[in-house]
């Protein structure tokens, strides 16, 4: 057994970088140096992660054909009761190690990219310190040994996302977006917290290993007692999933994600495409044995929410014109597919294919979606606009970006031999064997994905020849190198044997390409590309005609089905105007009014009583003498 205790440095190092750059960055170092420091720190972490991954997967992680959960470090951080305590530690198992690789790889790419992209921006060191904070929180989240540690880092990624979306804090739209992202996810986290509370009340533990042990007792707690027809365990898992819905921008908590694109593009690539938004998927995967064994109803919820979100987002993505928003909806759609895949899986064996597919897709998605965002960043950097209506014919000016972007688009469309072909194929297979409706939805989403991605691609790099104010030029090397590296990753990660590494019960799962599924999925991808080619390769009037034909449908999709307006209505009108303001009014006028009324009554009464004290001595004497006489009469005649 190899000692993994060094993995704690994976957490300590970025936290230290955050403090260093955040507290002293602008004083001690020049901007460039702090960028390099941050990147260097992350480089070390990346190397550590790769070493860990290698040692875990290929040297020591496997005992008797199954990967073990290894608690590398565990320190009690806060003791609640004898059994309930928050620990800070590092848990290594296939999914956490896989996430380690994903996060550090993408994060390193983004760091390098940002050196170029953010050059000369005010608050350069602040940017890098926030990135370090994010890396710290995200790594802590995936390495968490217990659900409460996960919740802690869950909140921390939320706040680092808030800080990074609002990086341009003088831009009102960015401020609004960051606020929205934080509050929406916070609301979802409320569900997560309630889920944790219910879960811990029933099982008396936070620890993941105890909780998710499929043969243990914790997993069976609370499955019998019912509430509204569902068991307590199911309720708690639905609440926990609510947290995942918020963070992963699933319907109906997806509204923050498109707005979050107000943040700098590298941030979008790192947080809102590759790592943080998949935390919800990771959460479900982490708790998967409980979902699969004790709360199958909750797992169905996961599947349907995922499938619906993926279709919903794919439709909206076809109409948006802001390239980052298209990518954001595409992210939402892809994560929906992962959720759906998890939802159709069950624990162990062949039935666990969906779990493996989901993790596989998470991995490949992180690579190609980061690539897409970074590519989009390079384009925006060159054109100074987010809107594809301002672009066209860029292939001549940005050759490297063009090629890498094309690779990413082919990948997401599921064209072999690019990586997403394999992972998406597994998802479709899993759905096909479990639920034909969900399979149909995902199949349609695969086609739509190919269509809107190539709509984007043709609009940017082909289409009309737009005249630019100044000729767009290719990004510097710090930006193109990550693009190339990620393109290579998109090409080859599909060949990683996930079925041997990351499965629901950590044992090897035999699976291969099913031609029954693979061929149709490639065909629908090609069909999508074909339609996009016809419509957008050259400037044509087809899109406009289509938009007028399906006027209402187009309008609804373009306005994101008015979900934003609904939320605005709920928050502004209902919460602010119909709850908060009446409460404030009630407090001022009723509660405080009662207190003031008591004071007023006292005052009025005392004014009345004051009349007796006329200051006329003769009146006093009169009362006094009358009193004496009365008393005298009383004592003489009446007192017996």
């Amino acid at each position: 057994m190899i000692n993994f205790s060094y993995t704690i440095w994976i957490l300590i190092l970025p936290f230290f970088m955050f403090l260093l750059l955040g507290l002293a960055g602008h004083k001690l170092f020049k901007a460039k140096l702090s960028g390099l420091l941050g990147t260097g720190g992350l480089g070390i972490i990346t190397i550590l992660s790769y070493i860990t991954a290698y040692r875990y997967f290929f040297v020591t992680g496997k005992i008797e054909g199954a990967f073990q959960k290894i608690t590398a470090v565990n320190i009690t951080w806060l003791q609640f009761t004898d059994k309930l305590h928050i620990d800070m530690g590092v848990l290594l198992d296939p999914i956490s190690v896989m996430m380690l690789v994903v996060i550090t790889t993408v994060s390193l790419m983004v760091h390098i990219y940002s050196l170029g992209y953010m050059k000369g921006e005010k608050g350069f060191e602040r940017f890098f310190s926030f990135l370090s904070l994010f890396s710290f929180s995200m790594l802590g989240l995936v390495l968490a040994t217990n659900i409460f540690q996960m919740y802690i880092f869950w909140e921390l990624v939320g706040v680092s996302s808030f800080l990074l979306i609002g990086f341009y804090y003088q831009k009102p739209s960015a401020v609004r977006a960051s606020k929205k992202a934080f509050i929406v996810t916070r609301f979802a986290d409320l569900g997560f917290l309630i889920g944790i509370l219910i879960l811990s009340f029933n099982t008396k533990t936070f620890d993941f290993i105890t909780l998710t042990n499929p043969t243990g007792t914790a997993i069976l707690q609370g499955t019998g007692i019912g509430f509204l027809g569902l068991s307590i365990m199911t309720w708690s898992m639905i609440f926990v999933f609510m947290g995942g819905v918020g963070k992963s921008a699933m319907f109906p908590f997806h509204i923050w994600l498109p707005d979050a694109m107000e943040g700098p593009t590298p941030v979008s690539a790192l947080i809102h495409a590759a790592t943080m938004v998949v935390a919800g998927v990771y959460l479900v995967a982490r708790m998967f044995p409980i979902y699969a064994i004790s709360a199958p109803v909750a797992l169905h919820v996961v599947a349907y929410v995922g499938a619906f979100s993926s279709l919903f987002a794919a439709i909206i993505a076809c109409t948006q014109t802001d390239i980052k928003r298209v990518l954001a909806y595409s992210t939402m759609s892809q994560i929906g597919m992962m959720m759906c895949a998890l939802g159709v899986a069950s624990y162990g064996g062949e039935e666990g294919l969906g779990y493996m597919a989901s993790m596989f897709h998470l991995f490949t998605h992180a690579m190609f979606k980061a690539l897409l965002f970074l590519g989009a960043g390079a384009i925006i950097h060159a054109v100074h606009s987010n809107y594809m209506t301002d672009m066209g014919g860029l292939r001549k000016y940005l050759p490297i970006t063009h090629i890498t972007f094309l690779i990413a688009c082919l990948t997401i469309a599921g064209i072999p031999p690019f990586s997403a072909f394999f992972s998406k194929d597994e998802i479709l297979t899993a759905a096909f064997h479990s639920n034909k409706i969900l399979f149909g939805v995902e199949y349609a989403v695969a086609g739509l994905t190919a269509f809107y991605m190539f709509r984007l691609y043709f609009n940017i790099f082909w289409g009309k020849d737009t005249q630019y104010h100044h000729t767009p030029h290719e990004a510097p090397a710090t930006m193109t190198i990550p693009l190339i590296l990620l393109a290579i990753a998109s090409l080859f990660t599909g060949f990683i044997p996930f079925n041997k590494l990351v499965t629901s019960d950590s044992k090897v799962l035999e699976s291969g390409l099913e031609m029954m599924i693979a061929i149709p999925s490639v065909l629908i991808g090609l069909l999508g590309i074909g339609i996009a080619y016809v419509m957008y390769r050259k400037e044509t009037s087809i899109p406009d005609r289509l938009a007028t034909t399906f006027k209402y449908g187009y309008k609804w999709a373009y306005n994101k089905f008015y979900i934003d307006e609904l939320y605005l209505f709920v928050t502004k009108k209902i919460i602010f105007r119909y709850i908060a303001q009446p409460v404030a009014w009630f407090d001022r006028h009723i509660v405080d009014g009662t207190m003031n009324a008591i004071a007023t009554v006292t005052q009025v009464i005392s004014f009345r009583i004051r009349g007796f004290q006329s200051g006329q001595l003769q009146k006093y004497a009169f009362v006094f003498i009358t009193g004496v006489i009365m008393l005298a009469i009383f004592f003489i005649y009446l007192w017996k």
Partner: protein, 105 residues
């Protein structure tokens, strides 16, 4: 000894004097008249003291002493009261008690 005027006569006189004084004290608005009423009250008490002393404890002198004390106190009181009244008159040019209400809340 018990011949002569009975005790009741003294007491009736004292009571009448006392209530005349009380009535004057309560109803008059002129400070001098009020002062005079107070004197009436005091003197009615004096009569009571003397009468009881003479009729109940003829061998003791406490009643006498007490009335002498009361006379002394009444004298000093009259002096102080008149001094106050004069000052009030100088300041307000009236000795009507109802007009002197500076200290009323």
């Amino acid at each position: 000894m018990n011949s002569g005027i009975p005790l009741q006569y003294f007491l009736i006189l004292a009571t009448v004097m006392f209530f005349t004084g009380v009535y004057g004290f309560l109803t008059r608005r002129n400070l001098i008249t009020i002062l005079m009423s107070v004197e009436l009250i005091l003197n009615s008490v004096n009569i009571n003291f003397l009468a009881f002393n003479r009729y109940l404890y003829p061998h003791k002198l406490e009643g006498m002493f007490f009335s002498v004390f009361v006379i002394a106190v009444a004298a000093s009181e009259a002096a102080v009261a008149i001094a106050i009244i004069i000052n009030i008159y100088r300041r307000f040019t009236t000795i009507n008690v109802e007009d002197v209400n500076e200290m009323k809340f």
